[in-house]
Symmetry: none
Subunit: 207 residues, 2 copies
DNA sequence: ATTTAAGCCATATTTGTTTAAGGTAAATTA
DNA sequence: TAATTTACCTTAAACAAATATGGCTTAAAT
């Protein structure tokens, strides 16, 4: 079985350069540009690139200018670009949540292949989800959807206020549960789900 | 004032192709590839590309193969504001942490705040920081630095293994503390700090 | 009515980029 | 010890790709 061999130091450095270059520029480098970076000759770069390819870390497109593709074994994720998605502050009841004035900033997120504006972010207020590791001030990234599965952490609209809770579904009914013993479950009030939490982010840099 | 003019249908189609091609391949197309796609000649493509550039939707790099950059005047929020930083897996003692083979993926991060390659990300293993809201499988974003303040969550090198702990500093000595009563503080072993945790990310999408 | 822009074409030239083919030396592996 | 791998080199040739000219037609703008 073609097990992925390890790269040598030099090969690793060159792979690094190719990747960095590809991120900082809209295209991969040429062999010559690699040669210049490392102050070696074209022929030497050929050898290195060939070796790196043989070990399976890049794919080459024959006769194609800048024809590299970094294919780290075990990572099929195409890292193209990022989207900026808005962070909405938690607002008082009655006020519109998705208002332009309510945007507190942006976070970056890997671009999703399909949907476009289906994500947004929300700043968490309060301690009701503390036992699920979601703290006051944390930011959750939400995928818009009007239903979710049992046990999902969701953003629900409750009396016109957005709240973060765990969704519980029984055969009889659905309800919202906090992750903090000091809060009780919300059983008999109407709510609607506006999205599912797909990621949590917490900053440690002092405000 | 050079206001951004609108593209014609044809120009828009070509711009779209360039963008799509750049996403589906690791490099932008050549003029010839565009010509083949639209069944027009090279010269015609030159005209179109020149027009598109003049209207500010792409940037061209002179004499550079595949030297395109799509710069839609609308989404300046997208590209230039994010950096891709690598996620390193937690490795066994003795093995190099910052090796290419150890990169498990990438996360996006807002650019600037600080310098360039001073950030990396690490996947957390274990429950030792659970009471600080850092769970197994979470990803922490780390700023490289060899010292930190009392109370900072840091990544430390302990017997050649990277570990996430809270740094405690007394007048007498510095030590590492877990955030889980089942783990005791690491008091009398040598360690070095490799970075400070500045952000936490947790994915909720099913594995 | 003249100019400008949009779409097209063809050909030639220059530059960019990859590929080919050979060689040297030191370190590692069989 | 012989064979392989790594890391370099040089030179030439082939191919890829961008650029330079120049010319054609139609529709819209001044």
């Amino acid at each position: 079985m073609a097990r992925a061999k390890k790269l040598t130091q030099k090969q690793d450095a060159i792979l690094n350069f190719i990747e960095k270059f590809s991120i900082e520029n809209p295209f991969p480098p040429t062999l010559k540009e690699i040669a210049e970076e490392f102050k070696i000759t074209l022929g030497t770069v050929q050898d290195h690139v060939f070796a790196i390819e043989k070990k399976g870390f890049i794919k080459r497109f024959p006769d194609v200018a800048r024809g590299f593709k970094v294919t780290r074994p075990g990572d099929n994720k195409t890292q193209d670009m990022a989207d900026m998605i808005p962070i909405y502050g938690n607002v008082a009841a009655g006020e519109p949540i998705f208002a332009q004035e309510n945007i507190q900033g942006y976070v970056t997120m890997e671009k999703n292949k399909a949907g476009h504006k289906i994500h947004f972010a929300l700043k968490i207020k309060g301690e009701s989800m503390k036992d699920a590791g979601i703290y006051d001030g944390d930011i959750v990234i939400v995928r818009k959807q009007d239903d979710a599965d049992n046990g999902d952490v969701v953003i629900a609209l409750l009396d016109d206020e957005a709240t973060c809770k765990t969704l519980k579904k029984t055969k009889i009914k659905a309800y919202l549960e906090a992750a903090n013993p000091r809060y009780k479950a919300i059983m008999n009030r109407p709510f609607s789900i506006i999205g599912k939490v797909i990621e949590l982010r917490r900053g440690y840099v002092a405000a």
